[in-house]
Amino acid sequence: MAADIKTRHVLLWAIFIGGMCLLPFVTTPGTLRTIIFANYLAIFAMSWDFLTGRTGYVSFGHPFLIGIGAYASAILSYRYGVPVAISIPLAVIITMIGGTLFFLPALRIRGSYFALVTLAFMELMYQLVQVIRPDITGGTRGMSGIQTITSGAFNNFYLSFALMAVIAVILWTLTRTRLGTALSAIGMNEESVRGSGLDTTKLKLFAFMVSACVAGIGGAFYVHYLGSIAPRNLFDINFLFTIIVAALIGGASTVVGPMAGAFFLTFLLEYLRPWLPGSERYFVYGAIALVLYMYQPKGLYQIIVDSLGIGKSRNKQEAAGDSAA
């Protein structure tokens, strides 16, 4: 490994992880359950961002990937009695294979069309899951009583946090290498990356595989935490929306951003619950995300970095605007 990691970074990660590990001793199980959800949302948001935030290929199909992971593991363990220790790795592999097969042609398509094809995959999956072999998938109602890995908020907190932290650290380290620079460069100007002698198809495929792998892991563990699965909860624009908004609020094309965004959103939801119990909360979510996105497309992360004056004040927005024009 040759990543650009400084002592300061290691220290910050250690403080964050250490602090989180102490949390269960100072909060209630209720708060812990909220954090568990935040951990999974953070995994999904980081997965989305690794593809879209870096390479600039907008995925509207992440629920499709997460759904493959979740359904594969749920079906294997619930219908065929496969132990969870085997069903989850299998589900991750199925997500990566299935996802790659579907997305490979999509990587040939540029821009808006890529986003649309991924959206179509998600809707297709939603309909197919209900119609094809409902005896296996559970049809419209899905499945419940799926084996859980562990029980209690305490254990589940540590499980989900460990998962999230390991994924975050790995992805973060990857982005600090030259590979991270190359993937971001694709998002800025794909032709120039090719013009630098790099095979962009290979790079994009790699980004997608990592993204699918993380989505598969997240989906599979999530379903064994919930113990149930239903198509409308997974292959749903609201779910997609939550993932994207988490990544955007925190700051796309960073690892810390989507993570922080997921926590921010989840706690916002908790605070709003007494006043907005139903899906009206998306109104607040969305409005915040939209205003923030219009003001600073790079999210809270960039706003904090700018206001603290960390690094040189790069006129990023302007430079990006010029290259797009």
């Binding site: 490994m1 590979l179 190359a182 790069r314 010029d322």
Partner: protein
């Protein structure tokens, strides 16, 4: 002398229009060739065909005796051709050093992860095109047009080309910047670099090239020294918009 880069009977049609029509020329090792012609003559298309950004309908591109015609762009660059663009295309959100870093990267995901960047090589390349060490931290948004062209030259040089294709390197530059880039190219030539240069600025182009090829409507109309080509009847007619 054997030809380093050989373009042979290249044809490229867009719809019904022939942008490049039975075009052949060659460039020898260490030579500098000027490719001239009026707007729309197909010069930039020739570059795209050599780089494999567009696929020719027929004809071949050969580098040091090896046929590149079926290779994808990144492979051609690995084998030793590289180009710059009329409109520079930097990576807008990363600094000069990181821009050059992308050019220096090996085409191997494993090595991109396992090996770190080489700041010395980045600095050396930046210096070789005339950047100061302090410029490495700048982003493209902070650079002038001349600096952007220099950055593009540095990123192109980073791929260690045998032949460089330079598309309108002087466009949009101040007189001072033109001199700077000219000197730079002249210096690289002394080190043995082979060039194909497209430019509308014939005055700046003349001292940089050994030989010129004039083209219009996608095919060659004259070939020889700069003077010979410019004195050619057909070339004069083409430039006068005949």
């Amino acid at each position: 002398m054997t030809a380093l880069l050989e373009v042979s009977r290249l044809v490229k049609r867009f719809g019904g229009i022939s942008a490049v029509n039975d075009l052949s020329f060659e460039v020898n090792q260490g030579e500098s060739l000027g490719l001239i012609g009026p707007n729309g003559a197909g010069k930039t298309t020739v570059f795209s065909l050599i780089m494999g950004e567009h696929r020719q309908n027929s004809g071949t591109v050969t580098l040091a005796g090896e046929d590149l015609s079926a290779d994808p762009t990144y492979l051609r660059i690995q084998k030793g051709v590289s180009r710059t663009y009329q409109v520079p295309r930097p990576f807008a959100d990363i600094n000069v050093a990181e821009n050059i870093r992308v050019g220096l990267m090996p085409n191997s995901i494993r090595r991109m992860i396992s090996e770190g960047p080489d700041p010395d090589a980045e600095l050396a390349l930046a210096r070789s095109v005339g950047f100061a060490a302090a410029d490495l931290e700048k982003t493209p948004g902070e650079l002038s047009m001349g600096d952007l062209r220099k950055l593009e030259l540095a990123r192109t040089l980073a791929t260690a080309p045998k032949v460089m294709l330079l598309d309108e390197v002087f466009a949009g530059l101040t007189v001072g910047e033109i001199t700077q880039i000219s000197d730079l190219l002249a210096e690289k030539r002394k080190e043995g670099m082979t060039y194909v240069i497209v430019s509308h600025d014939l005055r700046s182009l003349e001292p940089l090239i050994d030989r010129a090829v004039a083209m219009t409507f996608g095919h060659v109309i004259a070939e020889g020294t700069f003077r010979e080509v410019m004195d050619n009847e057909k070339v004069r007619a083409a430039y006068l918009g005949h």
